[in-house]
Symmetry: C2
Subunit: 397 residues, 2 copies
């Protein structure tokens, strides 16, 4: 539906995106009998959740790990992406046989968030009331809504308790929300590179991205799907701006510096003279092939709205009152999107709630994206934490 | 020319912008006898330089201070802006009677840079060869070109030597270029919050802004003036993204935090729920009333290209070999666009060149824009440095 390029890349037939996605992901359908009660007061019904699972659920259903994806992630955490064709998913170093999240031992579930565009119901889907894509008539969703939907899928799958909930960035927000909303269902929780509330600067960057999308005339007030258009230029600009925030100045300097792109000297023009320009343009262009612009608006909004303390009288510790969940909080020194100070606030609140919490700040120059990359100290930390928790859970060594 | 709003705001008649600007600024015209030799190899002719002066040049012409403006600044450093109507110019706390740059003692000159849009020749002006606005046929300019043009104006004004050259951000780049290109003409130099070369991250942010402008269909491949259009949405997005980089996370948190804009609770929509969103949108909207989108492309490109060491065999100290200029370098702790490390590189190079240099890092949470704001320690530093240099120059106390 989006572009010929997309189908060609994925080597797929020219069916709609939803069918494409559904062909490779399991999809749970929630009908009128099971509406999703949103924080906005709206009741969303019907809705679908697309998800992937890896490994086997054990007999007493005690070995389930829920992986929560970030803003532009999806359910393909550890398997081939149906659009990009990227093998191994978005966390290939973390989830798989013998990896920290060991699919030989654990049953791993990853769900596309509500509002997403990879098979779970979002603004690009058909509103049954009108027969047209929702567009901006899709209700605004929150991190709480994402987690509530995830819990409904787990109920459907008959999984009462999660051994572990893990995620970075927006995935980490969901981890915190899980621990706060369903403390009895979470044995251990691993929020990475995240915050209990979105900062003013982060809201600002999201607002720039949204304005870039809305400034694109092909956005059509959100109705681009009905008009057979796509605000790909605006979405690419949004992605470019965001992508800078995922890296660090040091990493950019190390990877690109002021190196020129396939040329000996500057051209005195507006081509991508510098490698960093070429790289960013590539990031923008490839993103629009796999992501829906309205989903980007909705999911950034959900992150902006996230403020876990606000739901508990402004005291974050109250969100974790009497929790028995074991926490492992991880931050990265060069992450300026969710700096260590944001992660430390979570740790302080957990300490104030007398929770069982480990905290590791990992020294790296890779910026926010470090949680997705090859960070041996992170793997060692999480392998140890998960193994120890599994033993406590009676899952053996 | 740009919009009715602009004229109404400034309380001016509906003449063209150029006439408006010329009506309040002095303009020097350089005809075929005085082309500007650009670094690109192009010879620009004819061209105009619009400038403002404050104070009086003394008899031996030894009390001139050149103020260099930043990316979106202009010649109105200390007087009413003709478009925004803002009294006092862009540096009202720095330049004026009794202020650090004391217009009772010094003759202050501020020129709109080549490529600008406030009266100096830039892409919005008519190319005499075609009778149409230059648009993207305007040659790409560099910081070196800006400074070369400034020197030509000083020659025209009969000012051989400058007592001082001062500027922040891109203005600081010009200061460094002045000191390197015309060491005999600069008695003292004050680069603030700047760098001897633009970093990969800064190039990246500029590229996002340029892509936002170019993604706007009203940009028309750069020919919007001929088509009576204006890529104001794209330019506003560019400004919003850039504006975030001028502030600090701490300042954003202090000023806005997660405060809501004239409402008790979030609206579950895409309005500006948060004050930071409303503030950013305002920054974007007001900017397009006073700035030309193509000028934004050209001036950001000039900053990207700036790499003073590259012109001297990769050794920055060589740019300042045998310099007699006295330098005062100032950085700000919370400036992440031109962090102290960038400024310190300048100091190290000056030390390696055995130059006379003072360096002050000022503790502030105001970010890059601190150099434009009320920073008592900066004023005290500059007042002392300028007074001492003036005495050495024989300008009295």
């Amino acid at each position: 539906m989006m572009s010929e390029k997309r189908e060609l890349k994925a080597g797929l037939d020219a069916d709609s995106d939803v069918l494409r996605v559904n062909a490779v992901s399991a999809v749970a359908t929630f009908g009128p009998e099971a509406p999703l009660a949103l924080d906005s007061g709206v009741s969303l019904s019907p809705f679908n959740i697309a998800y992937q699972t890896y490994g086997r659920l054990n007999a007493d259903k005690s070995n389930a790990i829920l992986v929560c994806h970030a803003l532009t992630g999806d359910q393909h955490v550890a398997s081939r992406h149906p659009i990009t064709g990227k093998a191994g998913g978005w966390w290939p170093l973390m989830v798989g046989p013998g990896l920290p999240i060991d699919t030989d031992r654990f049953f791993v579930i990853c769900q596309n968030v509500i509002g997403g565009c990879m098979g779970t119901t979002g603004p690009k889907d058909i509103d049954p009331k009108t027969g047209k894509p929702y567009g901006l008539s899709f209700p605004v969703i929150t991190i709480g809504d994402m987690v509530r939907a995830q819990a409904m899928l787990l109920d459907r799958l008959g999984i009462k308790d999660l051994f572990c909930v893990i995620g970075g960035s927006m995935g980490g927000m969901q981890v915190l929300q899980w621990a706060a909303a369903y403390p009895e269902r979470v044995f251990c929780a691993i929020p990475l590179a995240t915050a209990a509330r979105h900062s003013a600067q982060n809201i600002a960057f999201h607002e720039v991205g949204r304005q870039a999308i809305m400034a694109d005339p092909d956005w059509q007030g959100g109705d681009y799907l009905g008009e057979d258009k796509n605000p790909s230029k605006g979405l690419a600009v949004a992605r470019m701006a965001a992508h800078i925030t995922y890296l660090s100045e040091a990493a950019l300097h190390r990877k690109f510096g002021r190196n020129l792109q396939n040329r000996e000297k500057v051209t005195y023009g507006f081509d991508a003279d510098f490698q960093i320009e070429s790289y960013l343009r590539h990031q923008g262009m490839t993103f629009v092939d796999r992501f829906d612009a309205n989903s980007y608006l909705y999911i950034t909004r959900a992150m902006d709205y996230f403020d876990l303390a606000a739901e508990h009288g402004g005291v974050l510790a109250k969100a974790f009152k009497n929790t028995k969940t074991r926490f492992c909080v991880v931050s990265f020194t060069s992450d300026w999107l969710f700096p260590t100070s944001d992660n430390r606030q979570i740790v302080h609140a957990l300490n104030a709630a007398a929770a069982n919490v480990s905290f590791v700040e990992i020294d790296t120059d890779k910026g926010h994206d470090a949680f997705l990359l090859d960070e041996p100290e992170m793997f060692a930390t999480l392998t140890g934490f998960i193994a120890s928790a599994a033993e406590r859970r009676g899952l053996g060594r």
